[in-house]
Symmetry: C2
Subunit: 191 residues, 2 copies
Amino acid sequence: MGEHKPKRADARRNEKTLLDAAAAVFVASGVDAPVRDIAAKAGVGMGTIYRHFPTRADLIIAVYRHQVCACAEAGPALLAANESPHTALARWIDLFVDFLVTKHGLAGVLQSDNAGFESLHAYFLEQLVPVCTELLDAAIAAGEIRAEVRPLELMRGVGNLCIGADSDPRYDARRLVRILIAGLRCETMDA
Amino acid sequence: MGEHKPKRADARRNEKTLLDAAAAVFVASGVDAPVRDIAAKAGVGMGTIYRHFPTRADLIIAVYRHQVCACAEAGPALLAANESPHTALARWIDLFVDFLVTKHGLAGVLQSDNAGFESLHAYFLEQLVPVCTELLDAAIAAGEIRAEVRPLELMRGVGNLCIGADSDPRYDARRLVRILIAGLRCETMDA
DNA sequence: AACGATACGGAGCCGTGTTCCGTTTAGCAA
DNA sequence: TTGCTAAACGGAACACGGCTCCGTATCGTT
């Protein structure tokens, strides 16, 4: 799992600079901000940004790697700290939703069909689906929820519900996600 | 509610031609297809398409107007035909979901934040939210669901869940929507 | 037939993603 | 220190899609 650091010092410095600039621009203008803006903010040329991060997805991944990782690690912790696996699942999903809705436009770019972002989609999924699976399985084993949904589907569904959650105060993604999770419980559903 | 038909015969003919071409291209390449492609398919110039449909949203609305209208009209019918308002709601949502997932990329473009498509978003909402409100209110009155969600939110949530439902066989939007609707029922939810 | 109003076509502009290559520079060795 | 080379840089240039603008063609009327 070595970090493939570039050899030259200036390259390493630029990578850090770019990461910081990207983070700042993402906050200010959303993850869809023009690549040129990020390069400008970092004070580097177009070539440099593409050399370090061949696709926008790579850049986004690099910027949010730590937070995604933290979210993944919170899963087992929540499972251990809560009586009910269903509650743990709900809390974990809350974490994920909070992460998404506070990153302007990130949820919208997570869609797999969005050309050029397959790797971003894939990264999120491979980081979080295993955790989700664990929580889901625990809740199923505890008899709290129906075994109907697959983890992948749940993650995508939650991600989708978060799209546009910023930029429209009338749309409360958290509430809908809560309802979706509630819908997983055993008693419900008939027709 | 008169149809503002253009005066000249060729203009009227072109409008029809464009509508047909757009419908064909939307099926073949999705609603995101380049405007040039649609113009080419119709055998007209760029100017013509923009004169008739100033924004892409206008074109999409025109193409799907009838189906959206049919969906809106199905609401009251379902309410009359079903014992349980909750069932009627579920069936109506099914109709809406079927519509969305069969239109390559349409759901993705419905997001309000998507620049230039506010009017499309607004059109769908103004057509369907009243119907949704009626169904929701009936189900609430029947004591079948919690009054927690607003119609607008439900519509947007369902729309969001449909994003990317085509283009990925592992993601079944219908199932998630069913679960979301199940989550509306009274018994569920606690923490 | 002639003429004005209406509509048409598509070249061209702009903004953005992405590539390519001439120039600069870090790091090392003499 | 100086010189050299590979690594890294910068930004001009290209691709592509949305959208506009205006000279030209067409309709319909007199």
